[in-house]
């Protein structure tokens, strides 16, 4: 799929999703995720572009091909499910079974509802179902046409956390049984990382980077992607040495060693990113293993206990922003770490990731 237009919603997007793959489209609100999904379903036409599925061209602006949604084999689960409020769960599913003989529709709808664990609730109308049950009806309806692609538009946004966890497990089981491409739109990075095989980061209608969740989280293509995947540690530096297998960068008066094939010339201005898990806290009572690896001293400025982890913002003299790391809460307690305490950390050379320079004040996502 390739789409481009300037107005009304700017788009410059490319997406490829293989059969059996779950591909997450991730980006902040207003980045064009839903618009792309609607383009694939045939509910919106971009000015330029081409959409093909399993060899069939659904949209080609240059060739003036625009197959209507009715003729596209796409199952779409809407953000708020868009169930037909006056029809029962079974009738909602039957509404998408127009391609079957009338006598076969009821049995097929009941089987689809059973597949999403809604046996016994066939006669209920959407208003009589919980949010999670409504979502399941929407999934059953989307699968009813035996689609060639399944499109999920923020399908977990309207349910509570407990239900969401349950639905995650159900979707994971469902996708194993389906050999079709699934495109999942979400603004939740954790959700995307958990459910998808590959992710595409979208910003202002433009696809910035595609890769596995781990690649995107640890090896963003540039500082903007790093910000969008919520990489907290992104700083500016300058390349000072380049040797096989390692690059030396000067950051804030400290020489940092970055592992990997050098990609930037000596003297180049770069940015580097570092996941919070790539910052190793040294113990106070005895030297830590690897304490000679890019050691940095600083003062704890912020401590945030989130679940079982303590997220700490460390102020390094001269650095324009805090350096973030996380440790288990019990480790923080054992080391008596609190705001104002001085600590030493190592920035792991394997985790440091160099990127082309970009003004970090630009394009800061909301």
């Amino acid at each position: 799929m390739r789409l481009a237009q300037r107005a009304p919603i700017p788009l410059d997007a490319t997406l490829h999703c293989a059969p059996g793959e779950t591909h997450a489209l991730v980006g902040p609100s207003g980045s064009g995720k839903t618009t792309i999904l609607r383009c694939i379903a045939g509910l919106h036409g971009a000015r330029e572009g081409r959409i093909a599925c399993d060899g069939a061209v659904w949209y080609d602006a240059a060739a003036r091909i625009d197959v209507p949604p009715q003729a596209r084999s796409a199952g779409l689960v809407f953000q708020h499910y868009a169930l037909f409020p006056h029809l029962s769960a079974q009738a909602n599913v039957e509404a998408a079974l127009g391609h079957l003989p009338v006598r076969d529709r009821a049995a097929r709808a009941i089987a689809l509802l059973a597949r999403v664990h809604l046996t016994g609730l066939e006669a209920r109308k959407p208003a009589q179902l919980s949010g999670g049950q409504q979502q399941r009806v929407a999934v059953a309806r989307a699968l009813a046409r035996d689609p060639q692609v399944l499109l999920l538009d923020e399908p977990f946004a309207a349910v509570d956390r407990v239900t969401r966890q349950k639905l995650y497990r159900e979707l994971t089981a469902l996708r194993r049984s389906l050999a079709l491409p699934i495109v999942l739109v979400t603004h939740d990075l954790d959700e995307a990382a958990m459910l998808s095989d590959r992710m595409t980061i979208l910003h202002r209608g433009r696809t910035l980077q595609t890769g596995t969740p781990r690649e995107l989280m640890t090896r963003p293509a540039d500082p903007l992607v790093a910000r969008l995947v919520d990489m907290k540690n992104v700083f500016e530096a300058r390349v000072v040495t380049a040797a096989p297998g390692t690059t030396g960068v000067a950051w804030n008066g400290t020489l940092l060693e970055v592992a990997g094939v050098p990609r930037f010339a000596v003297g180049a201005r770069v940015c580097f990113g570092l996941p919070v898990t790539g910052v190793l806290l040294h113990r106070r009572d005895r030297p830590s293993r690897g304490e000679h690896e890019n050691p940095v001293d600083g003062t704890v400025a912020e401590c945030l206990e989130i679940g079982e982890d303590m997220h700490m913002g460390m102020r390094v003299d001269g650095a324009p922003a805090l350096l973030w790391l996380k440790v288990p809460v019990h480790v923080a307690q054992r080391n008596r770490i609190a705001a104002g305490e001085t600590i030493r950390v190592s920035l792991l050379a394997d985790a440091l990731h160099l990127m082309p320079w970009r003004d970090l004040a630009r394009d800061v996502p909301a």
Partner: protein, 222 residues
């Protein structure tokens, strides 16, 4: 009781509803879902019968239907009768002065259907006619029914426009509202009271039935 006038009123109301139902559905859907330049002017024009004095509207319709107007001349050439002071002219006037009563409730009902519900119907493979009958019409039914009832009872009770365009020709243009007026003019208050009571009860029952049947459904999407 002038049963001829009463029958003519029922006939006029039924025909007005029959004409305005398809016309109103088409216009209401257009206004609800298809924004276009100048929509506000179209909506304002359609709402005019609500605020214009019936005599003003009746006067313009009289001029527009008259023998000197293009419409009046074409009608006369085709049928051999004048459009004014005829049942056909009365029906056309009735359709025009009922436009807001038919279109506005339908438009609001269509506007209340979430866009995604219609999109979902298309994604389910339903052809447009089936989306209309199975989804849109059913969900908009309370508004459509209200529009039909309002149009019907408003036609029964309309006086000013009917008098201006149709006059008071027994069996042709004298509706029950005109008949009541004629009775009062003739100092037959008892006759007028009977017909007024019939009109009152009929209108009340129709509106109450519509309210009962067309109570908004619990439309809950998401």
């Amino acid at each position: 009781m002038d049963w001829t006038a009463f029958g003519l009123s029922l006939q006029l109301a039924a025909w007005t509803v029959a004409v305005l139902l398809p016309l109103g559905l088409a216009v209401a859907r257009l206004l609800a879902w298809h924004p276009f330049a100048g929509r506000r002017w179209v909506e304002a024009a359609l709402a005019l019968p609500l605020v214009l004095p019936p005599t003003v509207l009746g006067f313009y319709l009289l001029v527009a239907f008259g023998g000197n107007s293009p419409l009046g001349r074409v009608f006369e050439a085709l049928t051999g009768h004048t459009l004014t002071f005829s049942f056909a002219g009365l029906l056309l006037a009735s359709v025009i002065f009922n436009l807001p009563f038919a279109i506005q409730p339908m438009q609001r009902a269509f506007e209340a259907i979430p866009t995604d519900v219609r999109a979902a119907a298309a994604c389910c493979g339903m052809p447009p006619w089936r989306i209309f009958t199975r989804i849109e019409f059913t969900l908009a039914w309370p508004g459509i029914l209200s529009a039909m009832v309002l149009t019907f009872v408003h036609t029964l009770g309309e006086f000013g426009v009917v008098l201006m365009v149709g006059g008071s020709i027994p069996g042709e243009t004298r509706t029950i509202a005109i008949a009541i007026y004629d009775r009062v003019q003739a100092f037959d208050n008892a006759g007028a009271a009977t017909m007024a009571a019939v009109l009152l009860v009929l209108s009340f029952i129709a509106i109450a039935a519509a309210y009962g049947t067309a109570r908004p459904r619990d439309i809950h999407v998401g």
